[in-house]
């Protein structure tokens, strides 16, 4: 397989060799760990029948043999044997922080696309109201749902769990809610590791970064949660009074709506860094992203980050990083 999957950038001959070398290095680093744990569909998975085992996800039984039903890596946790898939759609777990897009405003709920096999549901009741007061939702609230989230809005929420007909989300904290002034990126979910912290405020660049467990990543201008509430309040008020239009904004409001050029550039830089990493199929963590962003500072133009040279550089850097990490480890 000469070509790497998904990579559509034309490379020069030297770049090709450099990339190849970097990738080979990566391969050699990881191969010792668990190369023969990779399986494809219908491969049999060796198990210790005496000890007893539990078949987990991605396995089934054929003629007394455990076989994989998906491509991936065999994982064993105590007696549980399962296949961890790569490249699959998002599998929600309770407590995951996800970023999603509103598909539909339905009675008392929003339907949100979170890259799962079904749309997720965010109930109006699982949502903190703009006024911040805990109370029963009234018919008025229901009518005003669109003032909170509209179709195509990007929102951030937490997986609450499965309830009768589908996946439920909740957004009962200030940090959840609508995301504005930024970019939504979609990367394969397996590249995002579940960690303690998924919200990152990078003060240096004045941006927020949300690594949704579902592979949706938000990069946007930093927003103060408290302020947001105020804006929302104000927006609500103004909504009720008169339809605000761009031209009727007050100077102050325009000031707020305006994102400084530098911030916008930083958003783009970060987004591009994530794009490069995901094309190369590297895990996307805050450290690597920031490292890549730093690397990109040497470039004249931000769009060069999507060029071939930068891609090769990132690959080389990653190879180096992992090998040094290994040595340390």
């Amino acid at each position: 397989m000469g070509r790497m999957r998904g990579l559509e950038i034309p490379l020069t001959q030297t770049q090709k060799i450099r990339l190849q070398r970097a990738l080979q290095k990566l391969e050699s680093l990881s191969s010792k760990a668990n190369s023969n744990a990779s399986v494809t569909v219908a491969d049999s998975i060796p198990v210790n029948y005496d000890d007893g085992f539990l078949k987990g996800h991605g396995t089934s039984e054929l003629n007394g043999e455990v076989i994989a039903t998906v491509c991936g890596v065999v994982e064993r946790v105590n007696k549980l044997v399962y296949v961890r898939t790569l490249r699959a759609r998002y599998k929600p777990e309770v407590g995951d922080i996800v970023v999603g897009r509103v598909i539909e405003v339905a009675p008392k709920r929003w339907r949100i696309d979170i890259n799962f096999s079904q749309d997720a549901v965010l109930m109006l009741s699982s949502m903190n109201l703009p006024d911040g007061i805990q109370r029963r939702r009234t018919a008025v609230d229901e009518l005003n749902m669109r003032s909170i989230f509209e179709e195509n809005d990007v929102v951030c929420a937490e997986v609450r769990g499965f309830h009768h007909d589908g996946l439920q989300l909740q957004a009962r904290s200030q940090k959840y809610g609508k995301l504005e002034r930024g970019q939504l990126l979609s990367i394969p979910p397996y590249l995002v590791k579940r960690r303690k912290q998924h919200f990152h405020y990078i003060e240096e660049y004045g941006i927020d970064l949300i690594l949704g467990c579902n592979g949706f990543i938000w990069v946007g201008e930093h927003a103060e949660p408290k302020d947001d509430m105020v804006i929302d309040e104000q927006a609500n008020k103004s909504d009720q009074i008169l339809k605000p239009s761009k031209y009727s904004m007050t100077l102050e409001e325009q000031e707020r709506a305006y994102t400084p050029l530098e911030t916008r550039q930083n958003v783009c830089r970060t987004a591009n860094a994530i794009r490069v990493l995901s094309t190369l199929g590297f895990s996307v963590t805050i450290e690597i992203i920031m490292d890549t962003v730093t690397m990109s500072m040497s470039l004249k133009e931000i769009h060069e980050m999507l060029g071939s040279e930068f891609c090769v550089l990132v690959a080389e850097r990653e190879a180096e990083r992992r090998s040094s990490a290994k040595k340390k480890g």
Partner: protein, 241 residues
């Protein structure tokens, strides 16, 4: 017409039991959940899989299993003469159905209730055996999308011309009008899931031809397995720990 020369070579230089050159690539459509290109000689098919995702038409939603849909089309430039082909012609509808039924039989649909899986296959170059290439491409794309399957499905055709069983007919041989057997198998389970034939054959010859097609399917399976494993490993080591 002489399809096998007395020297035992076919028109394109293959021997009767030989397959055309195989090539496959995965992850060719960025937006899709899974995708692949499958090439058999000059036949080239691209497949993209979307899903499992929310069922578009709620009335079709099934509470115990996933809905599998398939759409087959042929690119206008896929054949020698550039013809604008309508979407819903009989051939397309038939192949869509064949691919859908074949794939549905191996997808563990009960694991993905209330969802929908869309398979789009498009012929980029047609040179005989498009049906088989479509099935092989769809298998790869489904595996790429990590949709759980009982087994891979692989397919290959075989024909009977000049009193010789021929593996993997190309367009010239296909249009000779002789018997043409298309077989799809589940290689691990050793089961036949698809069997189609044009024209007719006496039963004992049919056995030979079908056996040859099955051998072809197995060879395809070996190749597809290699491609999948390589792909999985690559993904894994790129990702890092």
């Amino acid at each position: 017409m002489e399809y096998v020369s007395p020297e035992g070579l076919r028109i394109d230089g293959r021997r009767p039991m030989e397959m055309r050159k195989l090539h496959a690539e995965m992850g060719v459509v960025a937006k899709a959940d899974g995708s692949a290109v499958f090439v058999m000689g000059n036949t080239k098919v691209i497949a993209a899989v979307y899903g499992p995702r929310e069922v578009q038409n709620r009335s079709q939603q099934m509470s115990d299993q996933a809905l599998v849909r398939c759409e087959y089309s042929m690119a206008n430039f896929s054949t020698g003469d550039r013809m604008r082909k309508g979407k819903g012609d009989r051939r397309s509808t038939e192949i869509s159905l064949v691919v859908r039924q074949t794939m549905e039989a191996c997808i563990l649909t009960h694991l993905m209730p209330r969802s929908q899986i869309d398979i789009y296959v498009q012929v980029l170059q047609a040179d005989g055996g498009t049906r088989c290439a479509c099935i092989n491409a769809a298998t790869l794309a489904l595996a790429d999308a990590a949709i759980p399957m009982r087994d891979l499905v692989t397919s290959c055709s075989a024909g009977y011309l000049n009193s010789t069983p021929l593996l993997d007919l190309n367009y010239v041989e296909d249009s000779a009008g002789g018997p043409d057997v298309t077989v799809g198998i589940l290689p691990k389970m050793d089961k036949v899931t698809l069997l189609q034939m044009d024209s007719k054959l006496p039963i004992d010859t049919f056995d030979n031809v079908m056996q040859l097609a099955i051998e072809g399917c197995k060879a395809v399976a070996t190749y597809i397995r290699e491609v999948l494993l390589e792909n999985t490993k690559q993904l894994e080591y790129h990702r890092g720990v």
